[in-house]
Subunit: 376 residues, 2 copies
């Protein structure tokens, strides 16, 4: 027997009681019973997203909500700034380009976080920019961006700030309204402890004005239709009923734990992981590491592909390798959602075993011991 | 105790073993384990859709796949014919208009099915039409369209035929390749016996050529990306893992039963329902009734809203009322998916009880008896 351990940055493990909730009888979505659930969900989502504005739920993966944040805010030929420091930052640029939106690249070396001063300069050089797009946690590099500082810069202009918090929400601090973040995009299969299939988008008043003037074509992801339905605790199209029933349960779990405690839990697991891998003699990849996922450089002489594969196929622990240019060069361990100290210790123990199998000189228990110290 | 009975045309009841399959441990989607599932699913979907062409799976509701069938096939200013005989036919026109596609209306009175000759005439008058859109079963009216005859007309031209079989697939006959249907769109929460959250789209070679030339903007629903991923049994964006695990199980169930038997089952339930309501003294709304859902006129003097509400809140049987202009004028009973004779008999018994409560003169057991005769 070897249990299946999911330690990649999404999908993340789903609590058993949430799995069972989603296995309950499917109810019809156009009924007072389901509307009561949606009403509940809408209130709780605002708390989780730290906003007084509506948070929409789409039946789609996170990319769908990213697309919604482009097609509803700008028009063909409009200019946007995109912070590109990894695969997901680049996705915003791809979506914008697909719709004929002009992208001002804010290039960031993978592994580094964006300097808010650079965003400020770009905004000064391009005063006609309508929106700035950035990730909170860039999942592909494990970097967290300083959204507070970026929001300070952007909110002083006419532009809106859109943050991809798909992997970051509930792991890295994000005070949406307090900081002045206009749009937050999220997905279900990360810190929200659900299977993939739901995407979220919060919308500030400032962003709602752009929605009114945006002329890009859209239908399924049309926020005007979403706003109209949301006001009646409804959805424009058939919602993913079972996932929303699960969502209601995870929101209860997260709010009961308390958002501060949820953030502290992620911080604790992430910190212990960082210290543990350093104790093993490894090096962090991210200059400014996120608490959602830790990216670690594969040490010289070790086959990064073999590391991830042996972890999954022999140890039963699914971690993530590097994506695109980082393939084989880093591995990533998540701290997202339904994970605790002993999940982390298990994964670290597996990493030590596989590293030593691959010829890396590490004393078994070195990193694990460090994590134990920090957890005790 | 009053059980929850879902007899509306979607969402439909989900088999218990499918609910439990979806409650299993979530696995990572970029692994050989999940790719093996996708490979299986892709083969079985072709059988269910009666096509040799790829069938894509989206994390979205059916409307997402409808949008995909517009934005990938035509370009701004192109002309399409839309068969509008109900809410869902009209949705194709709404999506097309949202993207600047010129719609040639093929208006059909709600409750009637389209005359293929009219489609033929419209194609002659508009030889530059790129695509024809029609529903198989128009869920809002319970009408089935003669797709075989329409396909004969359309396949003789350069235009492609797109069929919304969201509620019709597996209930009404649809021989995709044999009839020459280019694109079939479907959703998970109808005949496929799954919760809502997945959408499907099959694509003929003729339609693939249009995909190459279409210049409408798209990203999440981009079929070029879907085609590329599909060839490797992968998906462009994170798939709805748990729903796809359930999909694999329902496809096994449907293929084991045999597509012919699945169709016969729906036909049997639909026929018994039609005869039973006629025996109660009611009148069918649809000129050419679908085997997915039966639409029945609310008899004079009966409050249609109260009928559906009492069925749901007092009898525990969720049926559907009429939509848009048909509100209060019809009620709809589904035969879709995980339903058998005794579900149908239960619903008919409830209808008789509530109709008599609402002052309609019906002998209890009259319609039920008729159904029993046809089932015995």
């Amino acid at each position: 027997m070897r249990k299946y351990r999911l330690m990649a940055p999404g999908p993340t493990p789903v609590p058993e009681k949430v799995l069972l909730k989603m296995a309950d009888t499917i109810i019809h979505h156009r009924t007072p019973q389901f509307q009561a659930v949606l009403k509940d969900v809408n209130i709780k989502l605002k708390k989780l997203f730290q906003t007084k504005n509506p948070v929409f739920v789409f039946a789609s993966s996170g990319t769908g909500a990213m697309e919604a944040s482009v097609v509803n805010l700008v028009s063909r030929g409009d200019k946007v700034i995109v912070v590109k420091g990894g695969k997901f930052g680049e996705r915003f640029a791809e979506i914008s380009s697909a719709y004929g939106v002009e992208v001002v690249d804010c290039d960031v070396e993978w592994g580094k976080s964006v300097d808010p001063e650079v965003v400020s300069e770009l905004l000064k050089e391009n005063p006609d920019v309508k929106a700035v797009y950035s990730t909170l946690c860039e999942t592909s590099t494990g970097v967290v961006n300083d959204i507070k500082a970026i929001a300070k810069v952007v909110s002083a202009t006419d532009a809106v700030l859109v943050v991809d918090a798909i992997s970051g929400l509930s792991a890295d601090e994000l005070k949406t309204d307090e900081w002045g973040v206009d749009v937050v995009v999220c997905g279900s299969q990360k810190g929200l402890m659900l299977p993939p299939g739901l995407a979220f988008l919060s919308l500030s008043r400032k962003a709602q004005k752009l929605v009114e003037s945006s002329s890009l074509p859209k239908y399924y992801f049309d926020l005007k239709a979403a706003l109209k339905a949301h006001a009646k605790d409804d959805t424009p199209y058939t919602p993913a009923v079972s996932l929303i029933m699960g969502l209601n349960t995870v929101l209860d779990m997260l709010l009961e734990e308390g958002l501060d405690n949820v953030l502290k839990r992620h911080a604790k697991l992430a910190n212990a992981t960082r210290e543990a891998v350093k104790a093993m003699g490894l090096e962090l990849f991210s200059e400014k590491p996120s608490n959602a996922v830790t990216a670690v450089k594969v040490p010289e002489g070790v086959d990064g592909g073999a590391l991830a594969k042996k972890m999954r196929d022999e140890q039963g622990v699914t971690i993530a390798g590097g994506q695109a240019a980082l393939k084989g060069k880093i591995f990533r361990l998540a701290h997202l959602g339904y994970m605790d100290e002993y999940d982390t210790i298990g994964a670290l123990a597996g990493i030590e075993i596989v590293l030593s199998q691959l010829g890396f000189d590490v004393r078994l228990g070195k990193g694990v011991g460090k994590a134990q110290e920090l957890f005790k």
